[in-house]
């Protein structure tokens, strides 16, 4: 059952050093505030899981939170590289990180398997690519009816899944609309689920296209207005595209990056 708590409490109670943690949100509803709280609490050796690491994981990797990364696309969408991710992979700074690399279809299906209580998922994927040579969580599987060989990927069941959503009611039921991404799958695949929300309301009025995740599969709800900035929340605020472009320059340089984190994450309790 859901407990309502402040974000620092929610993170302190759920995210331990060495945990596998998925902060999801497919370009929409990226839980920046929760990630920043993990950085502030100094968590280390995390296995970070996310289809599109985006600026948030660039920041977490750059601050040394990550030991390992499971992902499918590590770029700054429409802009270019994630320089902190590249620095860790290419130069081991601030520490080397291990990569477990998939395609989007593979990652999405790994979440589906996790949410479904299955050990693996089946897809037509990775055909002819070099990915299976480097990623040992890709295996062939044969259809018992047709003999066709397809691809299996194992379920992902993060220790902690963290998502941002528009709002929750007082019972902890969570409502999401716009691009829904893999929010439900992560909420259901994770052993513990934390949801940050823009607001808590007494009743979740239906919104076209909205889904509701029942509170009884959610561990903690933390009211965190602006918790997805500089990403966006459909119906609340827009994506800060200017910042996404500025990140290119901020993140290129190790010192400038650290100064920025100092100023915007450490000295402030609110997300940039």
């Amino acid at each position: 059952m859901t407990e309502m708590m402040a974000l620092p409490d929610a993170i302190a109670r759920t995210v331990r050093d060495g945990a596998s943690v998925a902060l999801e949100g497919f370009t929409h509803l990226i839980p920046f505030a929760a990630g920043h709280e993990i950085i502030r609490q100094g968590r280390r050796d995390l296995e970070l899981i996310r289809m599109t690491p985006d600026l948030l994981y660039d920041q977490m990797i750059g601050m040394g939170c990550a030991r390992r990364l499971i992902f499918s696309y590590a770029g700054n969408p429409g802009v270019g590289s994630l320089h902190r991710f590249r620095d860790a992979v290419e130069y081991g700074w601030p520490n080397p990180i291990e990569l477990e690399e998939h395609s989007h279809a593979g990652m999405a299906n790994r979440y589906v398997a996790g949410a479904s209580g299955l050990p693996f998922a089946v897809l037509r994927g990775y055909s002819g690519t070099d990915l299976p040579k480097h990623t040992d969580t890709i295996a062939p599987i044969t259809c018992p009816f047709t003999g066709e060989v397809l691809t299996a990927v194992p379920a992902i069941r993060p220790d902690v899944g963290i998502i941002h959503a528009q709002r929750a009611d007082r019972a902890g039921n969570v409502q999401i609309w716009g691009i829904i991404g893999v929010q439900k799958e992560i909420a259901l695949a994770s052993r513990v689920t934390v949801v940050t929300v823009e607001e808590i309301v007494s009743r979740l009025e239906p919104v076209p296209g909205s889904i509701v995740i029942p509170g009884w599969v959610i561990t903690a709800v933390a009211m965190t207005p602006g918790g997805a900035r500089p990403s966006y929340v459909h119906g609340y605020y827009e994506r800060d595209n200017t910042f996404y472009k500025e990140w290119e320059a901020i993140s290129r340089d190790r010192d400038r990056f650290r100064d920025w984190m100092d100023e915007h994450v450490y000295r402030s309790e609110s997300a940039s």
Binding site: H28, V112, S127
Partner: protein, 257 residues
Amino acid sequence: MARTPPVTYTRDEMMTVAAARELRPGMRCFVGVGPPSLAANLARVTHAPTIVLIYESGTIGAKPLHLPLSIGDGELAETADAVVSVPEIFNYWIQPGRIDLGFLGAAQIDRYGNINTTVIGSYDQPKVRLPGAGGAPEIATSAKEVMVIVKQSRRTFVERLDFVTSVRYLTAGTAHSPASQDGRSITVVTDLGILRAGLRTHQLTATELHPGVTLAQMQAVTGWPLTAADGLEEISPPTREELHALRHLMAASREPA
């Protein structure tokens, strides 16, 4: 808007216009951000208003007024016929081959249309770590047609990929083979012209050149011995209408890609 017709155009504009012309009305196009989104939306506002834009963020039939910087831009959801989850877009819409044309990006491309967006150098000690696969491996094998829009250079058009991120034509004997690959094409639109594979051969061949470009120019920036198709054609320059629509789209974008 300009009152006088445009008289000049850039190579980038020619590239985008040439790509847009490839799209036919009603086509279901899987679109990423940047040049593909620009070309697909140009087609949509010019000759192919019924084109269906599908983004991997789960928006089907999006009709954005502004070009999205991110494939998850809110306007995509607001203007879509349907918004579905990310697992659904891959499992129900891409995997079964419902996409007529999928756009792919490329850091390296070889003569077979295989693409690298993963690493330059070795995987374990990369010289440049690139973003990785995203949706490409499954788009590459499932879409009826594939289009790559990329500037031509020897760094990009290579003899041998450093890493195979996606494969258009699976070699015989590969077990992971989809049902049929007959008649599947790949079209590579560059700043110099168009290369195609899949009609008679699985090797990319120069089929069209932009106005004023020679085959020798294109061969000089291709890392394999590039041949031309019989009847190599010159592409007609952008019309006033095309340029006008393209520049309007760029100007109307919140954030030009």
